[in-house]
Amino acid sequence: MNETGFVDVELVSETGFNSSPVTKGVLFRARKSAISDVGRFEMQSKDALLKYQEFFNAAYAEGTIDRKTKHLIALGASLAAGCDP
């Protein structure tokens, strides 16, 4: 079950009823993950996003040039480069 993508796979108990000498009755519980494949991808790229956010925050931090001016420069640069809004 784990191989097919279930999580929290659990053999909860045996039922005590066996239909043949080589089988036994069992109760299994499993769950589908709470995150989709897309979500899983997002989690994997979470570190990269965090690093980018750090860079973004550092670049726009108040310094010799104030935050507002930096944003206006960025806007001007993006318009000149033809970026979509």
Binding site: F6, A30, K32, S36
Partner: protein
């Protein structure tokens, strides 16, 4: 277990199961060593309040190896799929548990079992139940349809179990639960395919 049967072997498995369960559809009593009928349900601690809502002859058609509802709650408003519903008793129990805002769907491969399930449904006043013929290896539902998938004594009969499990995952919503009662092999798997086919169809 991987599917390693050719189409002829798969056909024989299907026919063998079909023959066996045609008899079960008429009356499960005495066909198996495991629990059947009302006594079977009570023995496995199905909720007595729920059982009281079903007619006696519906309960009599129960045949299962365990109580999937003992594995966790099935809540009001949820959508439940019962794979290999047989005469549909578990599906009807699920329908009572989810209430009118929820829905219960039973699928089975054997037309005679489905007829029995539909007869059982008619004996109740439940309006949130659907029975349809379908294979567990190819579920006729969109992705993320169900909150809960239950199955009782059926996965052992499915030739391609991995495929069926992937189908369960597909039709479950995110965080959806799979509650399974079944028989598993504890001895050696027969070495040759011929014995394996007989095991299934016998």
């Amino acid at each position: 277990m991987e599917a390693r049967f050719n189409s002829d072997e798969r056909k024989r498995i299907r026919e063998g199961i079909s023959e066996k369960y045609k008899k079960v559809a008429i009356s499960p009593e005495g066909k198996f060593s495991y629990p059947t009928g009302r006594a079977g349900l009570e023995g496995q601690k199905y909720n007595p309040d729920v059982l009281r809502e079903l007619p006696k002859d519906v309960l009599a058609s129960y045949c299962g190896v365990g109580n999937p509802f003992s594995l966790g709650p099935v809540n009001k408003g949820e959508a439940v799929l019962d794979i290999g519903c047989g005469a549909g008793v578990d599906t009807l129990v699920a329908a009572i548990k989810v209430g009118p805002e929820g829905k219960a769907t039973g699928i089975d491969l054997i037309p005679d079992m489905l007829k029995q399930a539909k007869r059982n449904l008619k004996k109740t006043s439940l309006e949130n139940v659907t029975f349809q013929e379908a294979s567990a290896e190819q579920l006729p539902f969109p992705d993320g349809t169900f909150d809960v998938v239950i199955s009782n004594g059926v996965f052992n009969l499915i030739p391609d179990k991995a495929k069926a499990l992937r189908e369960v995952i597909r039709v479950l919503k995110l965080s959806g639960r799979f509650l399974l009662a079944d028989q598993i092999l504890i001895g050696e798997t027969p070495a040759d395919t011929e014995s394996m086919v007989k095991n299934w169809a016998g």
